[in-house]
């Protein structure tokens, strides 16, 4: 800690909160950043709190106007990238590892596939328009000529049904008569791919109809687990229900 801000500020560590929220007035921000450079504890806490704070952005996510992307992509042609920092100082010569075109396209394709591999969780908070849209999505899957219906019992009572259409590359999950869960627990839905990796496709607090709009190609099993609120990144086993899609 530097002298001016030293012992006179016993609560300097509480500044990690306002700092991460960009809520420090300019002069205090500058002082805190000087302190941060010397405080390992603060640096760690700032990184952790920042990881939590940025999640708040998910609450206001809004697609930008499409024209903006064209402007950005065109503008970057005139923006020179900073040289990388090597051993704490910028390198003089710009070293560019050019990836082959093919690898770039493969990566872009893979990224696009990842972006599409989700589905839409249907939750109680969604308004009627969204519910109607969801109903149409359900109907669209059920109307597919190749739609197959698969049933499975849920541990403790209830029934899980999955309707899969390879043609539509979508599936619908219907959960009925599920047993009550403790207040701090939730049902979580998963799609398990060929590598046995479980992808979360939504949460449910009770019975629901759920459209999974992401690709079903390569998905071998639907899984339902009971997780502590607000859901888990990886499934807690054993699963309450598993339905093989093949």
């Amino acid at each position: 800690m530097t002298e001016p801000t030293g012992p006179t500020e016993p609560d300097v560590h509480t500044l990690t909160g306002p700092y991460v929220l960009d809520a420090l007035p300019d002069d205090e921000r500058t002082r805190f950043e000087a302190h941060l450079a010397e405080c390992t504890f603060c640096t760690t806490e700032v990184a952790e709190l920042r990881a939590a704070a940025v999640k708040l952005a998910t609450q206001v996510s809004t697609p930008p106007p499409p024209a903006l992307k064209a402007r950005v992509m065109s503008a970057i042609e005139d923006v020179r990238q900073l040289p990388p920092v090597v051993d704490g100082r910028p390198s003089t010569g710009v070293v560019r590892r050019r990836f082959g075109r093919r690898s770039v396209f493969a990566l872009a394709a893979a990224a696009a596939a990842v972006a599409l591999s989700g589905g839409i969780a249907i939750d109680q908070y969604r308004d009627r328009t969204a519910a109607e849209r969801a109903n149409q999505q359900v109907a669209a899957v059920l109307a597919q000529p190749d739609a197959r219906t698969l049933h499975g019992a849920v541990q403790g009572g209830g029934q899980a049904t999955v309707v899969v259409s390879a043609q539509a590359d979508k599936s619908v999950v219907v959960l009925r008569d599920l047993p009550d869960l403790p207040a701090d627990h939730t049902w979580q839905l998963w799609m398990i791919d060929r590598t046995n990796t479980a992808h979360s496709v939504g949460l449910a607090s009770g019975d629901l109809t759920h459209v999974i709009t992401g690709s079903t190609t390569g998905m071998t099993t639907f899984g339902l687990t009971i997780e502590p609120e607000p859901g888990s990144r990886t499934p807690t086993l054993p699963a309450a229900a598993m339905i093989r899609l093949g």
Binding site: A47, T62, A153, A198, P230, P235
Partner: protein
């Protein structure tokens, strides 16, 4: 149960991928740092809704929001070489840049009186309709909403006024009629609770 023995499900999630070889924002940022415009284009598609949504929430003005979003994206392109994965995720890095720029803009351009008026119009309601239609976003947004519900009112309000409206902590204290040290502390302990609820502790993620 349809089977006596459960399948062994290894770690994996819709966002962070696992052994499935999915491309992370960090990978795209690393490619962007090599001057790869295709990688940057993909990164743009992934992060622009977060950046734009956040900037617009803070600035309100749509034209200004587009302008600042463009600045943020160009900043990411320009400084991708300086991103250090050891100091946090690419996602956090990008949103930190976006938040800082939006806040700096709102402070430099808007009159204090103007901003005081905005508090009246402030809504803690979450605009779910505008949430990008991907499961990872929805699932994550839902998690964050539930975690925010676990905070005390003062913790939540302090965090929301600062994060979504760009207020400084003295301004937040004034809005909420609370003492400065209280607000500083509520911002911190609220974020700590949020961190624990979301499981974003370093090294916690499986």
């Amino acid at each position: 149960m349809t089977e006596p023995t459960p399948l062994p499900w290894p770690a994996g999630s819709s966002r962070s991928g696992g052994a499935s070889g999915s491309v992370t924002d960090g990978d795209l940022l690393a490619l962007t740092a090599t001057g790869d415009t295709a990688a940057f284009s993909t990164l743009y598609d992934r992060v622009a809704p977060w950046v734009f949504g956040l900037v617009r929430r803070i600035l309100r003005n749509p034209a200004q929001s587009e302008e600042v979003t463009q600045e943020v994206m160009l900043d990411i392109w320009r400084t991708a070489t300086r991103y250090d994965a050891g100091r946090g995720s690419a996602h956090a890095w990008i949103l930190t840049i976006a938040h800082r720029r939006a806040v700096d803009r709102v402070r430099s351009e808007q009159a204090a009186a103007d901003r005081t008026e905005q508090v009246g119009a402030r809504s803690a309601e979450v605009e779910f309709d505008q949430v990008a239609d991907t499961v990872s976003t929805r699932l994550e947004a839902e998690q964050v909403r539930r975690c925010l519900d676990t905070l005390t009112e003062l913790q939540r309000e302090s965090i929301e006024l600062a994060y979504y409206n760009g207020y400084t902590y003295p301004e937040v204290a004034q809005q909420l009629g609370a003492k400065l040290p209280t607000i500083k502390a509520r911002m911190r302990d609220g974020l700590i609770r949020l961190r624990d609820c979301l499981g974003t502790t370093k090294g916690h993620r499986p």
